[in-house]
């Protein structure tokens, strides 16, 4: 590969022996990262390994307790993000920092100083589009843009400040496969032009497909720094989780009871949709005349590019949204694991017990039996091996993976503590590390094995194929079943027959 960065050029970013402590948590102990100019550098690690903290230091959002940092060969001691931007560092966070009601140009202007120069920004966006193939309407209101387009706005913000080192925190977590590929291609070109990019990711194949170099953090330490040629999925996985454990790929057959689908004794379907049309909260019709069934003991995967109506389909099945027409038969108490955990699933400031009590709170009457709730929460925590101090700690004190385990435990248990009849899960492993992802997969499979009807949507097509017995594809509001093969599903998702 012909990189612009010669061997003797200074490193785009060089962090050595960085340590950072938050209260009682040692987020980073001994982290180092060397990013060569002209490369894409993958930064891997489990949740809580310190990836984001390290990059927040590089972007001036945090100050290290110890360690050195050089940007472009010069010492860097950033007091704020403004200092980092000044030195050509840009960062795209996992959660976008955009003002939804403002236009693209106005959002970009927010970072500036002095006089508001919207015309200059429009011109800048125009030349950005020319140089980097970046199509963005400066006058579009951000709230109306797709997630992928909003991400481009974030990128444009960084590029308008002439960023030569871009940090992207899990950029593909919110993108559809096609969009991810496009972003990664774009990153490649950006690096080939002599810039450097750090890509924080959980996805091994992504790291191996686009990155030139790979660094792995585990519990605040750099445990592996290698070029792509020297890295394999096996060595990276071992470095990330610190043992010889493998990702969960092998367990495909574990919980699936194949006989369920073939015997003639499966009775009534759990979900039955007949010519169902669903509108979103604003009244826009998102799903047209969907007809489908989900039976006991099976996992039905839903694949779709974001915004094609899968969100509404899932919520209608889960009983969170009523269809505008058609007949939809669904059980009364469907477990629902929504994609945006913090917004839709938990009370962050409240105890785990209260979060468990939240399920079914709308229909509950009379006096609450808190001691029963506490006992039930303790049982759920033990069953799922959640590392928490007990049922009375606040949800916020748990890591993302453990929060998701609690949500899953709550939704996978029927009201009486027995097996659930139906579960709908939307991107249930989003933002989780390898180990937590394996737990979620295992739980969904065993729920199906115990007789539940499980519907899983994932924006990762491989995850859909890994879990599902059957696959439904939603494209442009139309729902249809597709053979569970990568090619067929991928083509159906973009509307190609």
């Amino acid at each position: 590969m012909t990189h612009v960065g010669a061997a003797d050029a200074p490193l785009a970013l060089d962090m050595r022996d960085v340590a950072k402590r938050y209260g009682g948590t040692q987020a980073l102990i001994d982290a180092s990262l060397s990013v060569r100019p002209g490369t894409v550098h993958a930064l891997l690690g489990e949740n809580g390994a310190g990836k984001t903290t390290l990059m927040r230091i590089a972007f001036g959002l945090e100050r290290p307790d110890r360690g050195t940092m050089h940007v472009g060969g010069r010492v860097a001691r950033f007091a704020s993000a403004a200092d980092a931007i000044e030195r050509g560092v840009g960062m795209v966070h996992q959660h976008f920092s955009l003002v939804p009601v403002m236009t693209v140009a106005e959002n970009i202007a927010l970072g500036g100083r002095g006089r508001l120069d919207l015309a200059g920004i429009r011109a800048g966006l125009g030349s950005l589009a020319e140089r980097r193939g970046f199509a963005l309407d400066p006058d579009a209101v951000v709230a109306t843009l797709s997630v992928a387009a909003q991400q481009r706005v974030e990128l444009a913000k960084a590029l308008m400040h002439d960023a030569r080192l871009l940090v992207l925190d899990e950029p593909t977590a919110v993108l559809a496969p096609g969009e991810s590929a496009e972003l990664l291609r774009w990153l490649r070109a950006y690096a080939d032009a002599g810039n450097a990019a750090v890509l924080i990711t959980h996805k091994l194949h992504e790291a191996l497909s686009v990155a030139d170099d790979v660094t792995v953090l585990r519990r605040g330490r750099t445990v592996l720094a290698a070029s792509r040629a020297d890295a394999s999925p096996r060595s990276l996985t071992a470095a990330m989780i610190g043992g010889d454990a493998e990702p969960s790929e092998g367990s495909r057959e574990a919980g699936v009871d194949a006989t369920m689908h073939d015997t003639g004794t499966r009775g009534e379907p759990v979900f039955r949709a007949t010519m169902v049309t669903i509108a979103d909260e604003r009244g826009l019709v998102r799903v047209w005349n969907a007809t489908t069934e989900v039976w006991r003991g099976e996992i039905v995967g839903v694949a779709a590019v974001d915004g094609n109506g899968q969100r509404e389909l899932l919520r209608a099945l889960a009983g969170r949204l009523d269809p505008v027409s058609g007949t939809l038969v669904r059980p009364k108490n469907v477990g629902f694991v929504p994609e945006d955990r913090h917004r839709d699933a938990v009370l962050l400031e409240r105890s785990l017990a209260e979060n468990v009590a939240l399920r079914g709170a709308g229909a509950r009457r009379g006096v609450l039996d808190w001691s029963a709730v506490l006992a039930r929460t303790d049982r759920l925590l033990r069953a799922l091996d959640v590392r928490a101090e007990g049922a009375t700690v606040a949800m916020r004190t748990l890591s993302g993976g453990n929060q998701q385990r609690v949500v899953l435990a709550r939704e996978l248990a029927a009201e009486d503590g027995g097996t659930p009849t139906a579960v709908v899960a939307e991107n249930p492993t989003r933002g989780l590390d390898v180990r937590a992802t394996a737990v979620v997969h295992e739980r969904l499979r065993s729920a199906a094995a115990e007789g539940a009807a499980v519907v899983v949507y994932s924006s990762d097509i491989d995850e859909v194929l890994l879990l599902a017995d059957r696959v439904l594809v939603v494209y442009d509001g139309r729902v249809r079943e597709v053979r569970a093969e990568r090619d067929a599903v991928g083509r159906a998702m973009v509307g190609v027959e």
Partner: protein, 363 residues
Amino acid sequence: MSATPRRRRTRLVLSQIALAALALVAIVAATAFLLLVGGYSVRDGLVALWSGSLGSWYAITSATLVRAVPLLCTGVAVAIAFRAGVFNIGAEGQLLVGAAAATAVSLATPLVAWSGGVTIILALAAAAVAGGLWAGVAAVLRARFGVLEVISTIMLNFVAVHFVSYLVRGPVQEPTHAYPQSATIAESLHLPRLPGAGRLHAGLLLAIAITAVSGWVVRRTAAGFRLMAVGENPDAAASAGQIDVGRTTTRAFLASGALAGLAGGIELLGVTFALYENLSPGYGFTAIAVALLAGLDPWRVLPTAVLFGALEAGAGAMQRDAGIPSTLVTVIEAALILAAVTVQALRLGRRPNPGRASIAAEP
């Protein structure tokens, strides 16, 4: 953390007692400082503050607790609304229309020998309904048109103040038309005085009962849980809890208004016996401080309502006996609110903090 829940709870209770003691010391110190700066006699001021609020049985009952009664009702009203994420700043207005409704019922009901008790109940019920309806205006504006209740309830306070002004100069003015106030209600409609407690009336018992029941509903019932969930995170309440968020907030709003209206009814039948302007020295506003200082927990409103009742009573005495403007105490009250809100913010900021996580932590 290794402490058992019980030890942790004991520690929590101890720390709260310590905090309360600290607050009292701070109040005294701040008052002394302000007296000094204002050029008044520190000794005279503090003596008046003490003797007017807690210095004698008469002061405790007839001054402090009499003022604590409306603060208790409105404090619980505000706590319930705030818990559900409804920022009802309109307790003052709701209290006033409650008092007006109680006046109307009291004056309009023909008196017969046995009717006193029935009329009292009718008047109090009317006060609660009026307060609820007054809040209902803001509730409908919020539910239908998305009007912020902070703004609508403040505006409705002004409407209520002027409505009372109109009433006492027009429809319900006393027969001689000399004073801007209503006729005095019949003696048989006065809330009974508590024996041996001066001006303190049975409204105190009613207020305590309301507080006890509200606290129980909030902590122990499914409805109380919904209030909390909706206030904490309406999206999760709707999605994970399948709670009707609109209905829950509207109910909290109406209940809050009804309790504030009831406070007005109790005040009229127990203390003022007639409707007039400035019937409330801002109880509905002080209630916000009372509720915030109590952490929006109805049971903890009881001590904070008494504290603010004592401050108001002491302030009156300072003005009367030592010629010190009572606004000085208002400054102290404001400082207290700022301190309480700051402490709360600091606690929230110091995460993770398992100690204050829950109501479920107190089985």
